[in-house]
Symmetry: C2
Subunit: 388 residues, 2 copies
């Protein structure tokens, strides 16, 4: 399977984005809509202080059907209490009215600053222009959901007679856990909601949940999948494989565009005693500030790889069995640093992406994780985010 | 109790530090010695790839007696296999010979780069000058164990007729867990080794283990306590209280001098359902890159406090009961942002230290944690540590 260039939406899906005045400038309100109701599934953040849209979204998704998603950026509608929940419902209802569909077929998402009231009047005022502007390019919708992202993220691919498209945003406060950042997947394949739900949960566990930009778990993470059936049935196995490829690619786009990031960091752990161990060690490496600054600095300080393996206290680790490589060049064997061409590894570390490979040598389980380097840009962005 | 200015060593303890040639310049080898054997206790890193000195130290401390500690910086003797263990033993034996005491009364510590052989010849060559140079100022020994620390760390206080002194080093790869960074405590109080061990473990749990500079757990963490008895007996309760105060102060010194840090960050969590919950939430706040950059930026983005509470998935959290303050000014109540004087809070955030107070409102357990802001200095230091 290959990705379409440029990306396109599946049959019956359209999107739009406008500037409604929540941000000072730029698109801040987006809409994704199917011409017919779609089977749907969604997963949300595990953060215990979830946003109002997450609380409402968990209710809505129980019916397994959606027809539209409305998203604003800049204000997250988190830490806003009962009034926040009421505003999230009104945002969905107003969108449904503008589209002429049932209110409980509209999922709403909000991201941005926490603890600030949702400017519902501006959103409502922007809806007519939004509905009129519905069109076919997924990158337009992707632009409307950006916060600190430096570029819009949308991909698509074919799966049998159907199309699968993903639109997503990053780029800080990213450590998804049983959910993801904002990612919306649309397909015209005909699949039932329980099938979508199973595929979504399994694939998210392997992709978005193995992504960390900064170990901070957002209060707004939402990943929804809609299937409107207009292209007819697709075998479940084919669809799952396509979803895995699409979400893996989206995960890489999110990691590569993490706040301040200059390099996509990919970690593969093999030889673990269990799948859980492999995931823990992979996450430890991709989240370690010292590994991340090593990648930024392009310096093969391989002791930091050992450190990040060893700090997984509950995992089966035998120091003398640990091997590791950087972009295919072995740097550790039997827990010891091996002689390697430092100049060559420095060059590899300066290219994008950087792959770290760790073999624990104690079993046959494996896992992958995605992240990015830690740079001055991350500090700049987050030392002044609220005021800017 | 108050801290001595300047700090001093207890009766019978002396220290020295020399440049033996492991670093390009500056003191890189330090010795702390008691004139008589002392009762002792120690805790070490939980990292599963511990340094050779940690492996040997765990054996030595079983006897509950020490007379000296020898420490080198720049090379950690980690990831060095059997040969590393042999060199650690020789480092201890050579020091014992130079002092004319039994080999298994000498604890050795090494910190610095991982995966590089310990330059034993330079250490052995430096020992005679080290032993001749033994003197009374703990700051001299503290200088000899510094790595990326910007200043030496030594404090002392009186406890009844006795003195308690602590010498420590930071400053990156700091997320102690059941142990600490290098911290050596010396007292002339007469206390048995099991009493020391109990006090050490309890106090470390409340202090060094609640410190995080960057969430990375060192492979070399060691905290040892020696009591040579020359001042006679001290009530155990008094000694524990003194140790708690001394280690709390040392924890603040380590956090304040974390790599790149400009501000000491202290977090107090109250109203938790359990002590474990209070500790988890306090650690989450003090470790969050977004809270740390908020402190660096001096920007009261209080939503990040809510986020860091909410990402403690396993803790009892009711969003509508969460209250929080910044340096005594309430910023959150009932899970909602309250009106506060933003300009005043900005000023408080720019002063050192910064205190964050969180009340979970669901119980009566509490905990404290210590950390620092995340700055450009951390990136600079760690993007080029190995080569420099």
């Amino acid at each position: 399977m290959t990705f379409h260039t440029p990306p396109r939406l599946p049959r019956g899906f359209r999107c739009a984005a406008v500037h409604c005045g929540i941000k000072t400038e730029g698109r801040d309100l987006a809409l994704f809509a199917s011409e017919v109701p779609a089977a749907a599934a969604a997963v949300f953040t595990r953060n215990q202080v979830p946003g109002a849209p997450v609380l409402v979204g968990r209710e809505l998704i129980r019916r397994g059907r959606l027809q539209a998603v409305v998203v604003n950026s800049r204000v997250a509608n988190v830490g806003t209490g009962e009034e926040g929940v009421a505003r999230a419902r009104r945002m969905g209802a107003a969108t449904a009215a503008a589209l002429g569909i049932e209110p409980d077929l509209v999922l709403m998402s909000s991201t941005g600053v926490i603890g600030v009231p949702l400017p519902l009047d501006r959103i409502e005022a922007g809806l007519p222009e939004l509905v009129v502007g519905l069109q076919d390019d997924p990158l337009v919708g992707a632009q409307g959901i950006m916060t600190t992202d430096t570029r819009p993220k949308a991909i698509s691919m074919s799966v049998g007679p159907a199309t699968l498209a993903v639109v997503a945003k990053g780029s800080g406060m990213i450590e998804p856990n049983m959910a993801t950042m904002l990612a919306f997947a649309f397909t015209d394949a005909a699949l039932e909601s329980p099938v979508l739900d199973g595929a979504l949960r399994d694939v998210v566990a392997e992709t978005f949940n193995m992504l960390s930009v900064d170990t901070d778990t957002s209060t707004s993470d939402t990943c929804a999948l809609m299937a409107n059936g207009l292209a007819g049935p697709v075998p479940e196995g084919d669809f799952r494989e396509a979803l895995l490829q699409a979400f893996t690619r989206t995960t890489e786009l999110l990691a590569r565009d993490g706040e301040g990031a200059t390099i996509l960091l990919r970690v593969t752990v093999t030889g673990a005693a269990s799948r859980a161990d492999a995931r823990t060690v992979a996450k430890s490496l991709v989240s370690s500030p010292l590994v991340k600054t090593m990648v930024f600095g392009g310096d093969p300080n391989v002791g930091r790889i050992l450190m990040a393996v060893g700090k997984c206290f509950e995992c089966a680790v035998s120091p003398e069995r640990v091997a590791a490589g950087i972009c295919g060049v072995q740097v550790l064997a039997g827990g010891l640093r091996v002689d390697f061409d430092e100049a060559a590894v420095r060059d590899l570390l300066r290219a994008d992406p950087v792959d770290l490979e760790v073999d624990l040598g104690v079993g046959d389980a494996r896992a992958r994780a995605w992240g990015c380097d830690l740079t001055h840009g991350y500090i700049d962005e987050n030392a002044a985010y609220y005021s800017s």
